[in-house]
Subunit: 348 residues, 2 copies
DNA sequence: TTGTACGCGTTATCAA
DNA sequence: TTGATAACGCGTACAA
């Protein structure tokens, strides 16, 4: 059976009254000291702080958020679950900022998609001050409810410009344009694109970059050179097979993720061709696998640490300034050249 | 500036009083309905539940935990940070159990190692009901404080048997013994072991398994065949180079992680040797990379989903039964045979 | 400069 | 079977 709120035999958690008693002042004074009021005598302040330290006092956050002060809690809202290979790197970036801003991170595990459940209500019941959202589309359930709730929200990889909501993403368009420029410089004239989920924000802008790169080189845009994927290895494999079946297959392929690039390379190997001699491949993300695979993958590195850190910093601004206009932040990428690209084969 | 606790123009969060008013009953009655008391009329119960649904009422968890009821919050305590490649898979397993038990997960980001900071106080101030701990050693700071605090704790990969604390891990010893048996079956007589951090719990028991396997095959244990690593690729690379420098290098190597196996394979390739023709390699974990690398890595799969799920289930038991004796749980592993092992070369 | 007293939203006790 | 009310720990007007 559950045996009360505390864990030990007796309640050991010191509260503000213990500190007040020890320091010989009132609880109000202790509270003022802790909340940075200047209307308190330097000596008493000193004394109070000393006992706070001695008794290892930490204000109970439940009581604190109950009286209407801050809960110092940020929620994360993920469609893909915590273990998403890309998101997890973002988390490390978030850690630093969370720490320096003093937030703890709460993962609302109860998330479910049935009608009874409301993510917003869940946040409210937890007194969450703001949320980071990842893996979302505009059409998804709960989206409007979230945006309209006025809970400060920061979206990763989804362009949301609403009151109290901002977003952050890599410079997808510029990144892919640079990749195409690079391939053009290697004399490629038949360049394909394997997309991510077709209406995901990131994939859309990467496609734009692809078109811009072609336009810049005065190369025609061909529908059949764009193969739809969904960021996965399997989708990359299938997409590549479709491209190989064309009467005039591409000599270079830009993929929307490293995993789909790996899948594409497998398809190429199965077709008896080789990378980069026959076909050049470029990935996206620079996950660990990119440098492990053979040939090592030329790819676009997303600065996930910065994305994570900035997410929290921006969310913190959104929380602290209710009048802030919608913010959007684009994080530069880095082009990592390894071994999966080579000069285009001269026409036979 | 910060503008009050709520996000919108007015406070929209319905509370228990709103529900009571709407249903024409007292707050006490609503509370009883919500907490499963049977001393409430079926009709009123019905009415109350209807308005709870209609108003989308969710009890404020801060208020709830303040009055001494449960906070439904579980903390995680990691030395390695959230992005640890192994831990992240465990998280997915935890998700399911958290959801079904009704917990949310809080990551105490403020974690720091200075003297002022007390992890236990942090948990108490957040009313955390229990913690999952990963990446810890017995000697680590805060360890005693945590164990003595009486906060229910579940350790992953660390053998802790204390009041209110239990642990879970893979069957490390058995797993490695089976690997050695397998290699012996391939006629290997010179089998090395690349360890993880030498005093980590997992590495210690894997070493035991290695010794047991050798003993079983009546093969001598040689100190110089055990190379210390720390689970990383770099350490695996270095360790392998030390093994290759022996006057009688091993023909098979058991590694404590897939990443160190990858490092070892790189060292072997650089030495002009090949896997598995010259040297057989076995990894541990079966992370995604294991199947991507060439040759695909033969390895031990840890059932991370089960480890994660059981962590929460066990912790839940620890939370709900203060008299529970220390629990320990060993999760079976699976031996995954791929392409990195072959028969031992006959002596020249 | 300090202290008293009320309220935050909920649960538990006890009287009705 | 229901309702009034005292906690829970803290922040903050307002009084001293």
């Amino acid at each position: 059976m559950f045996c009360g709120k505390k864990w030990g035999a007796q309640d050991l958690a010191t509260n503000i009254r213990d500190v007040a008693k020890a320091a010989g002042v009132s609880v109000a004074t202790v509270s003022k000291v802790l909340n940075g009021y200047t209307t308190v005598n330097a000596n008493t302040k000193e004394r109070v702080l000393q006992f706070v330290k001695e008794l290892q006092f930490r204000p109970n956050s439940a009581a604190r958020s109950l009286v209407g002060r801050r809960s110092m809690t940020i929620g994360i809202f993920l469609t893909a679950g915590l273990a998403h290979p890309f998101f997890i790197q973002i988390l490390s970036g978030m850690e630093q900022a969370l720490k320096s801003k003093g937030y703890d991170l709460i993962y609302l595990a109860q998330l479910s998609w049935n009608k009874e459940y409301s993510f917003v209500r869940h946040c409210q019941s937890r007194n969450v001050e703001g949320v980071v959202v990842f893996g979302f589309q505009h059409e998804d359930m709960n989206f409007n409810e979230l945006v309209e709730s006025g809970i400060p929200a920061l979206f990763i990889d989804l362009d949301v410009r609403e009151k109290r909501a901002g977003f952050i993403s890599s410079d997808n368009q510029e990144a892919v344009k640079r990749v195409v420029d690079y391939l053009v410089g290697l004399n490629h004239r038949h360049i394909s694109f394997i997309s991510g989920n077709k209406d995901s924000y990131a994939s859309r802008y990467r496609l734009e970059g692809y078109r811009a790169g072609l336009a810049d080189a005065e190369l025609p845009y061909r529908d059949d050179y764009v193969a739809e994927g969904d960021y996965t290895r399997e989708a990359g494999y299938d997409a590549m097979n479709r491209l190989l079946a064309l009467s005039e297959p591409p000599t270079a392929v830009v993929c929307c993720s490293d995993m789909s690039a790996v899948g594409a390379m497998e398809a190429i190997a199965e077709a008896g061709l080789s990378v980069p001699e026959d076909i050049s491949i470029v990935g996206f993300d620079d996950i660990e696998i990119a440098s492990l695979v053979r040939p090592a993958l030329t790819t676009v590195r997303q600065d996930r640490i910065t994305i994570g850190r900035k997410s929290i910093e921006l969310l913190d601004e959104l929380i602290n300034d209710s009048e802030l206009r919608p913010t959007e932040t684009i994080v530069p990428t880095e082009f990592i050249i390894r071994d999966s690209c080579g000069p285009a084969k001269p026409k036979p």
